[in-house]
Symmetry: C2
Subunit: 241 residues, 2 copies
């Protein structure tokens, strides 16, 4: 319960160019509410950046939500019944944006474009039934490790899914993807880096709104900045890349 | 007229992993036909790879075509009247695939998606009038240097153009892009490399069929291989990347 290391890490993240901080507490087996409150307060003492809260325990998540000065993004829900019954209502209660994962109710990854799209429709249905506004939804199509049997096939499919989602749901739904998942497992560091740097622009070109990245992966971050410069009109300097 | 340096260069290109060789002779002011024949023969003596012939002089180009053992790709034509009248018929005569550049008749680059698409339709019209088969066409949307005033805007537009072309023309038209154009001009080498490595996957995700790259840009080549692995089903090893 020492905020020092957290403050130091968050300060480094902010200094490296993070635009938001994802607090993934892991399972907090003892005093989860108190610990989540501590985490949020420690992070907020170091940065005014917006937060994402990732905790599958609804009570701990709510404690985190209460501790936030600015409404965070809830990260997130899925078709898992416990998530629909206990996490989704928190987005309604706290007027928070919420990330929905394209996963089956048993948390398995759907493989192939059609299955992903069916899950997206089911997810949107649950989201609307919870009384939330379209603008609160952010969809995470769940990047798979390339070393998984169907990992590459899945990651190819979700490029189309990201592109199709706005038309499918009838509004410009935002999307987010955890880029580090891609290179999970036993691969040389250089291959991991190249994988992130090649896949991120493909997702960006497909219309990805946000990327969850390791902010200390310098090459990935540079790639993200170049993609942003390419895809969003604005004034910038190549020197900043 | 010494084939030595050409043989050496082509051998290095093939060794670095080239899948085809683009022979861009530049303007051959004296004895253009003889020189083009010499170039093609020198390259063919070093490699069995398929060739692309880039020469705006129809006589020199035809000499090159005659010297080719395997039918090359003609690189290429545009709406420039001289190209339509003298280059396009060579594709018919030699049953060669031909690259069509999305450029105005005065060789200016169209800016914006709509203008590019209009040029593509005009180009396809000229192509069909020359009696060629759809399968012979490869479209080059012309990557612009990012340092040009509208360079980034144009390069963003052509991502959509590449994606839309097959539906627009009614068949799976192939596309090619010269990636090195992107970083032409005064930019730090590291920025040039990052630009190529970020833009190529965006084009690949949009459906680009072929990339014309500097085969000695190792990072760009690795990126191209990763994109290929992602986008085309098949068996491969990460160790080859």
């Amino acid at each position: 319960m020492d905020p020092g290391p957290i403050v130091e890490m968050v300060t480094r993240c902010a200094g490296a160019g993070a635009q938001a901080i994802d607090i993934n507490s892991g399972p907090l087996s003892r005093h989860p509410e108190e610990k989540m409150t501590f985490l949020v307060e420690a992070v907020q003492s170091a940065t005014p950046l917006p937060l994402l809260l990732d905790n599958s325990n609804p009570e701990a998540l709510e404690a985190g939500l209460r501790a936030c000065k600015k409404t965070p993004i809830i990260n997130g829900f899925s078709l898992e019944p416990r998530k629909i019954s206990a996490i989704l209502p928190l987005a309604k209660k706290y007027h928070a944006d919420i990330i929905g994962y394209l996963l089956y109710p048993n948390s398995q990854v759907p493989v192939g474009e059609e299955d992903c799209i069916q899950v997206a429709l089911d997810l949107f249905d649950a989201f609307k039934k919870a009384g939330l506004d379209n603008e609160q939804l952010i969809i995470d199509p769940v990047v798979a490790p390339v070393l998984w049997e169907n990992g590459i096939h899945h990651n190819r499919s979700i490029l189309s899914v990201i592109r199709l989602l706005p038309e499918l749901l009838g509004f410009p739904v935002r999307t987010i993807a955890g880029i580090s998942n891609l290179a999970t497992g036993s691969l040389p560091p250089e291959t991991k880096q190249k994988l992130e740097c090649a896949y991120l622009p493909m997702m960006a070109a497909a219309g990805l709104s946000m990327a969850l990245v390791d902010i200390f992966h310098r090459e990935t971050l540079k790639t993200a900045r170049i993609c942003h410069s390419f895809l969003h009109p604005g004034v910038f300097s190549w020197a900043e890349i």
